[in-house]
């Protein structure tokens, strides 16, 4: 066997391990379920159900909206933090970046559990608000609704946006900033016309990460969303648990897959365009 053949075999393993299951999955979306077993015949029934039943469409649109909110929070706050770090004295950059990365490595489940107990009726937030006199008595509005999901997801996914932004800010040559101010640009003009366009790729990548993660998350809505908090990820998840309709679940995940690919594609385009300028 030639060396080339060996390499092609080595290449084939990860490609098959990733694309095989994905392809298999696309096919199952066209199957149907009979009792508790899957029947392999081709029909568009799952997709028809999905796109004609307003319940599913509403959940999808609501989830896309929720994910956009999470991405927006991540971008605005993530950018602010990255920009702050970048403007700090050089020696402070590294410790601050490590500090913003550590939350990513804290247990996801435990974070959600703790957020739930902070937001809950007996929780820290209620005690604080009652203690400083904003509330007369503890409120239930913080937990088990869409707002709780938004808060929890923002806390969990925000750190993903800090590092990508910082990395693009750091690549801006100092000479460019000096040139801009030497030519008489104000601090705001330098930010608007030099810094912001140069850091666009990192911002888009950070936003993409939190958008896609929020879109497919099914544990956060289950933990802090209660009965009201249904998101698309949770609906898919329930098809593989309680409802036990794998083909329908596969069809819905296919929708999620294409949605994510579109988002990745758009982000990729923006990054490419920004880097060519």
């Amino acid at each position: 066997m030639s060396e080339r053949m060996i390499w092609l075999l080595i290449y084939a393993v990860p490609v098959i391990a990733i694309c095989g299951p994905l392809a298999n999955f696309l096919v199952i979306g066209f199957w149907r379920v009979d009792g508790s077993s899957m029947v392999a015949d081709f029909s568009l029934a799952n997709y028809v159900t999905f796109f004609t039943n307003p319940t599913y469409k509403t959940v999808l649109i609501k989830t896309m909206y929720l994910a956009a909110e999470v991405a927006l929070v991540s971008i605005v706050i993530g950018y602010s933090i990255a920009y702050f770090v970048w403007k700090c004295p050089r020696a402070a950059h590294y410790p601050l970046l490590v500090m913003s990365t550590i939350p990513l490595l804290m247990s996801y489940i435990i974070k959600l559990y703790a957020i739930r107990s902070i937001l809950g009726f007996d929780g820290f937030l209620n005690s604080l608000l009652v203690a400083i006199g904003i509330l007369d008595h503890p409120s239930t509005i913080f937990l088990f609704n869409q707002t709780a999901i938004l808060i929890a997801m923002s806390i969990v996914y925000l750190p993903f946006a800090i590092l990508p932004v910082y990395l693009t800010l750091e690549r801006i040559p100092e000479s460019l900033l000096h040139a801009s101010s030497d030519l008489g640009a104000s601090a705001w003009q330098t930010f608007r016309y030099v810094v912001l366009p140069s850091s666009l790729p990192g911002t888009v990548v950070g936003g993409m990460f939190s958008y896609i993660l929020a879109l497919g998350d099914f544990v956060t809505p289950q933990m802090v969303g209660g009965v009201q908090g249904f998101t698309f990820g949770r609906v898919i998840w329930s098809q593989f648990g309680m409802a036990f309709d794998w083909p329908f679940g596969a069809a819905m995940s296919t929708v999620l897959l294409f949605l994510s690919l579109i988002v990745i594609g758009i982000a990729g385009k923006i990054v490419k365009k920004a880097e060519n300028i």
Binding site: L22, I102, G216
Partner: protein
């Protein structure tokens, strides 16, 4: 800095401080609570105790799950390092179409929502008749972290440059010798950093694992199941211990990474 720039800086500093305290609050809460008993949903701030830690060491169930997590994590690290190094080494010397296809494929599980990777593997394993064990969990984790390890190693290889490889080959070294004596020493910091990151990601992976673990559960899955029925104090203790070690690990990886950056910087 003008006063206006300075006030923007101070404002962003406040935003950063507030955000950091919100990001850290959940975990700090868990750590603090691990030292105080809870009765009737109220924390008894008067009594400091390490009972939770004593209880923890009697909880065989948790330690079993922790053991599973460590097995999966270490296997994932070894496998991704071997596969990642092989692919990056090839991609660095011979780019081309095949490399690009592989690169695209291994980035999918990293970029797509974890639920898609988890579900596609679940249905795939079920179809070809493979039972769900720690092996299926490990396969899921390998596919998930491979992109990160590959990318970090490839970046490092690119920094090292091709000239030393060519020099080594001109002097008559074989491909393996070049890798072993010329490339690997320069690659080592990236290997350590990516190993730590891969382990950390695998250790906490929940959204893929939940589809792939059968009877043998990993720690996050076990914790999730426990939270649904109610939470005992010893979990707080466990989380405190894990958090302490993961922070130590992160700081270690960060220091390795910085060492590598400085070494790279002084060489150029």
């Amino acid at each position: 800095m003008s006063w206006r720039e300075r006030s923007v800086h101070v404002f962003l500093g406040i935003v950063t401080a507030v955000t950091f305290s919100i990001l850290y609050a959940p975990i700090v809460l868990v750590c603090v609570l691990s030292f105080f008993p809870i009765s009737l949903h109220k924390v008894d701030w008067g009594t400091f105790s390490i009972d939770a830690y004593v209880q923890l060491f009697e909880n065989a169930d948790i330690f079993h799950a922790l053991g599973n997590t460590l097995i999966v994590g270490l296997s994932t690290v070894v496998a991704t390092l071997v596969i990642g190094t092989t692919l990056a080494w090839r991609a660095c010397r011979k780019g081309g179409r095949a490399s690009q296809i592989v690169e695209f494929a291994i980035f999918l599980p990293f970029l797509l929502p974890p639920i898609i990777t988890g579900l596609s593997l679940l249905t795939f394993f079920q179809q070809i008749g493979i039972d769900r064990t720690l092996v299926t969990v490990t396969i899921g984790h390998i596919l998930f972290v491979l992109a990160l390890v590959y990318r970090m190693l490839l970046n490092r290889l690119k920094v090292l440059g091709t000239s030393i490889i060519e020099a080594s080959q001109d002097l008559g070294a074989s491909g393996w010798q070049t890798f072993r004596y010329v490339v690997f020493p320069g690659l080592r910091p990236a290997v350590v950093t990516s190993a730590v990151l891969a382990f950390a990601l695998s250790f906490d992976e929940t959204l893929i694992t939940v589809f792939l673990s059968g009877g043998e559960q990993t720690l996050p899955i076990r914790l999730w199941a426990m939270i649904r029925v109610g939470f005992s104090q010893d979990i707080n203790a466990l989380v405190t211990l894990i958090l302490t070690s993961s922070i130590a690990m992160t700081v270690f990886a960060a220091m390795m990474f910085r060492g590598r950056k400085m070494a790279g910087g002084s060489a150029t």
